[in-house]
Amino acid sequence: MIACLTIPAFSLRAALKDRPDLRRKPAALAAAPGEQPLVGPCTRAAEQAGIRPGMRLSEALATCPDLHLVEQDPAGVEAEWERILRRLEDAGLAVEPAEPGCAYFETRGIERLAGGVKAAVQRALDAVGAPWEPRVGVAERRFAALAAASVAPAGRALVVDDEETELFLAPLPLHLLPLGQERREELSELGVKRLGELARLPKSAVADRLGAEGADAWRLVQGEGDARVAPRKPSAEIGESLEFPEPVANEITLARALSALVDRLLAREERGGRAPRRLAVSAKLVGGGSWRRAVTLREATAEPERLRQALAPKLSELPAPAVELRLELGELTESVGTQAELVRPRGSRLRSRLREGLRQVRAAVGIDAVCTVVEVAPWSRIPETRAILVPRDD
């Protein structure tokens, strides 16, 4: 059977991980800079005060003046979700992450080991941990499993038998379907508010009115959805961070810091000559919150210049000064070979001798012995804020 594990309002929970005092207060996730001012997921106290996710910010503050707005923390969300996925994998589950806070896995693989479906699912709930209030839905199809997880109580699992799937789905609301807001409103205006009401309509009529999106939704409520799980491959990632002594907003400085991080990561021993295909740059922002951008390369490369070129334009999207910059190289793959050079570039011998010299200095004095000077604010009137020393590994 297919199990769907969900953690409601995961992005808010992850953002509040280090602020437990706010969990019991009315708090909601603020919109990202530049986005529509709509309230994101909110705490139970906020819900009790009348706040609903998707509400306009002005309306939310008028409804609940004590509402705490929590800054989005995409890097923190990603890190927490990765920790949870790894705990699930350590528990023997081959998981397919759908989005932060939602993952699928097949129970068949560990049913015998755990002693049944319920024990296998309990293993997943234990791996995630009670503070996250996870819930699991189990069914023969992915959509039914997701629907079951959406109504399961916190820390519990709900198993839906194949014969009962249609009956189970019928009274559930339409928002579980992967339909756009407009389509849902259209259906609501037509008097279709429950999955069962959509299931009773003829397929051709739904397809005629709502197009391919509607036809797909109709198939899901008929229990014809996908019954497969594609577990993720064990991730091979390496990361490096650079803390700034003070917040940095200058693009040139950020590009230099990024360059230093690229050099440090490429020099890491555990990379073992493999080239990354996925890159992610993230930053901790001044005053809390974080920012993250990921890039997937067309082909894996370990050429520092190409990595820099792929990431540098992203830095201009940073919404606030950064106090820490982090770079992650993922999907490390063995090199398939590139065109060799006929003539070695000028200076390559000198560079290799220099690299060897630096390696010996580091071996003798310590890994932080060799540093690069990175100009942070060369125009500053305070001399000690003009440049920083960044340890380098290459």
């Binding site: 890190a79 990765e82 790894r86 091979a236 990632e237 390496i238 990361g239 490096e240 961070s241 650079l242 803390e243 700034f244 002594p245 810091a257 555990e270 820490e324 982090r326 992650e328 932080d368 540093c371 000077v373 990175v374 009137r381 305070i382 001399p383 000690e384 804020t385 003009r386 440049a387 920083i388 020393l389 960044v390 340890p391």
Partner: protein, 90 residues
Amino acid sequence: MVAHPRDQGDSRAARRLNEPRPARVEAPENVPTSVGGVVVSSVREEWRVFDRWWTSEPVRRRYFDVVLETGENLAVFYDLERRAWFRQKA
């Protein structure tokens, strides 16, 4: 069990360059006459830096570019916040 690469402590802080160092300065009339026991032969320039007044750590310094009796050229400043003398490459 082998630690996952992302779990490893890979964050190394950058360090500031040219941090001010405490200096022993004699300045009877608020102008340095000796630095570290060496007499100041001339004060080439004097300037003030008032910055970050909007933060909880304002910077209020009075810099002096001095030449010592030994011929050494250096910059010292009086930190009006900490009420102490420092030397620094300005």
